[in-house]
């Protein structure tokens, strides 16, 4: 750890639609160190997937448009690369695994073809070598009879198996960065655990960095080193994972924590949903985007959108009233968080 692998600065992505311009990502800034696992958390429409698709330059343009920003990968701005140069990075140095394994694999090509094509392209392997490597990859993600299954089609695999194939495909060229876009959301809970275990193990074996997108804080609690919480295209809080769970300092993060069940607490507590809806991304408010749903709101929040402010060690929050959050969050959730004195 230590070296910065990915440095995203002030990234903005928009989509032109019939109803107006949708502001999907609104000035996102964060970085990722080598070997680090970053969780990207938020509800649907929070811009977490779009921001990563922008990093991969997989946004369909038009209607999409990258309005501003830099994406420095190993010091090189990906947004300034030509299509061909970018293509050589995709699937090679940065790989991406998608949410729905049922639709993300091509139904008319065998698994073998779909894994080997990246190997042949990026690593210049010949057919035999690529096939051997593909079988190794399948073994790595615990697929039995790997060699035989290379000739099978996606529909012959179960959902969990397909997601393993997707991960094997993502890892095929040993990328420095793996972006996983809700890879477990479409799967059963037991399978989810298997997949996260596999990723955790492979991360240690291969020493890559991971950005894991999810709407479920519970999934990445044991996986991520650090978490970015996103809301309507902004990062609203970022902190190391333990710190975030113990000491959330944004009302939205508090709300998220309130809506996941915890097994380590003595009594069964009430889950509290966050009421209300996120703002319309076409007409974003000038103030804080969370204003409508926030218990801490004041006139200031309506006037000015809070920037990310340093609130602790490696801990930033975009809330004018993070002190108030710290004091009142226990009462809100009926749960004990870290005491202010300890922070």
């Amino acid at each position: 750890m230590g070296n910065i692998l990915l440095d995203v600065r002030n990234l903005r992505t928009e989509f032109a639609t019939q109803d107006g311009v949708v502001h999907a990502v609104n000035g996102v800034t964060f970085h990722l160190e080598e070997g680090e696992t970053l969780g990207l958390v938020g509800e649907s429409g929070s811009g977490k997937s779009v921001s990563m698709l922008t990093v991969m330059r997989l946004i369909p343009m038009p209607p999409g448009r990258i309005a501003s920003g830099e994406v420095l990968f190993q010091g090189q701005d990906l947004l300034k690369l030509g299509d061909e140069e970018m293509r050589q990075i995709r699937g090679n140095k940065i790989a991406m695994v998608f949410q729905d394994p049922m639709t993300s694999l091509n139904p008319v090509l065998t698994i073998g073809t779909q894994i080997t094509e990246a190997l042949e392209l990026h690593l210049g392997m010949n057919k035999d070598k690529a096939r051997k490597r593909a079988a190794e990859l399948l073994k790595m993600v615990n697929i039995p009879e790997a060699e035989r299954r290379l000739d099978d089609y996606p529909h012959q695999f179960s959902g969990g198996m397909r997601q393993r194939v997707m991960i094997a495909m993502g890892l095929s060229c040993s990328p420095q960065l793996l972006i996983a876009d809700e890879p477990t959301t479409a799967l059963d809970v037991t399978i989810q655990a298997q997949i996260t275990d596999i990723v955790k193990r492979l991360k240690n074996e291969l020493g890559m960095s991971i950005i894991w997108i999810t709407h479920d804080l519970g999934v990445i609690a044991g996986l991520a080193d650090r978490i970015n919480v996103m809301y309507s295209g902004y990062i609203v809080e970022t902190a190391p994972v333990k710190e975030l769970f113990a000491n959330p300092l944004h009302p939205y993060t508090v709300g998220l924590l309130g809506s996941i069940p915890r097994l380590d607490e003595g009594r069964r507590e009430k889950l509290t949903p966050i009421e209300g809806l996120p703002p319309d991304l076409v007409n974003l408010p000038t103030g804080c985007p969370f204003y409508d749903r926030c218990k801490f709101r004041t006139e200031k929040c309506l006037q000015e959108n809070p920037p990310l402010m340093s609130v602790g060690v490696k801990h930033w929050s975009a809330c004018w009233h993070y002190e108030a959050v710290r004091e009142q969050r226990d009462a809100i959730l009926g749960r004990k968080f870290m005491q202010p004195a300890a922070a």
Binding site: M56, L58, P60, P62, D83, R87, Q88, I89, R90, G91, N92, A95, M96, F98, D100, T103, S104, L105, N106, P107, V108, L109, E117, A118, L121, H122, Y153, H155, Q156, M166, M169
Partner: protein
């Protein structure tokens, strides 16, 4: 998959028997008593009786049907009664059919690949002026009635001829057939292919747009594949599958087009023959033509369904 194949193959003979039974019944008895129709109302009843015996019309229907089918299978479809009096129908059609097949082949050859290419282009350039123009052409191709377009284009390239009702022009047949490589095939093949071009462009565009927005295309892009590889290997393969079923429609369209185009340009093909026989009520020719066309059509449609199942692994492995 095997069960599906067996079911389809078992249904084929049943369908063919049904088709032949109905066409035979209608073809022979549809217009009224076949012998009276052949000889006219004022013919001598004695002679009618004789002809009736000679042709076997006095026997039970099923026997007649059985005889007809056994003969037909051996290539004996009876004799022309009107224009080509006495000539065996099988030989008549056999002589004319290659012309129609050549013409249809050339029509498909230029229009189908071009249609797919234009459809892909329109889908990739969706929303741009290229897409706009291609879609405009598609609407034209589908809407312009061939019976009007044909004379207009014909006259546009034809030169006036003093002697008689002959149209002479660089791309026009002159009432004969000089094979599929002669330039005279250009105009009829162009007209016949226009509908195929329009339909394939439209459907390819729709299929490609659907496929290009699918998750697995995003996966292919995420792998860093070259753009042409994504289009050809990943998108086109999937988009082609639903297009296979279109070939049946194309075929039906060609049957219809052949009547019109061959008749208009006096091309001595099977379509023109069928049309002549229809107008002159040459029943054995019509009957044979309908039976053959329906049989070919049914078998090709079966082949299409089987191909469809083979191309799509989701069906193949069921």
């Amino acid at each position: 998959m095997t069960a599906y194949l067996v079911r389809r193959l078992l249904w084929l003979p049943v369908l063919l028997i049904l088709i032949s039974l109905v066409t035979f019944a209608l073809g022979v008895y549809g217009p009224g008593d076949p012998v009276t129709v052949m000889m006219g109302l004022r013919a001598n009843p004695k002679i009618i009786e004789q002809v009736r015996k000679e042709y076997g019309f006095d026997r039970p229907f099923l026997v007649q049907y059985f005889n007809y089918v056994t003969n037909a299978v051996q290539g004996n479809f009876g004799y022309s009664l009107v224009k080509y009096q006495g000539q065996p129908v099988g030989a008549l059609i056999a002589k004319r059919l290659p012309v129609t097949i050549q013409l249809n082949f050339v029509s498909i050859l230029w229009s189908l690949p071009l249609g797919i290419a234009l459809g892909v282009l329109a889908a990739l350039k969706r929303g741009t002026w290229i897409d706009f123009i291609i879609r405009g052409f598609v609407i034209l191709g589908i809407s312009l009635p061939i019976i009007g377009l044909m004379p207009v284009l014909n006259f546009a390239v034809a030169r006036k001829h003093e002697i008689g009702p002959l149209t002479i022009g660089p791309f026009l047949p002159v009432g004969g057939w000089e094979g599929m490589f002669a330039p005279h095939i250009i105009m009829p093949a162009f007209l016949l292919g226009l509908g195929i071009l329009a339909i394939f462009t439209r459907q390819t565009r729709a299929a490609m747009i659907e496929v290009m927005t699918s998750d697995y295309i995003r996966t292919a892009h995420a792998k860093g594949l070259k753009e042409w590889m994504v289009i050809v290997k990943h998108a086109l393969r999937n988009a082609m599958i639903p297009l296979i079923t279109l070939i049946g429609f194309v075929l039906a369209g060609l049957f219809a087009g052949s009547f019109i185009v061959e008749q208009f340009f006096s091309i001595p093909g099977a379509g023109a023959l069928a049309y002549e026989s229809l107008l002159s009520k040459d029943y054995y020719v019509i009957l044979a033509f309908t039976l053959m066309a329906a049989t070919i059509y049914v078998i090709i449609n079966l082949l299409i369904d089987i191909t469809y199942a083979f191309v799509d692994p989701r069906i193949r492995y069921k």
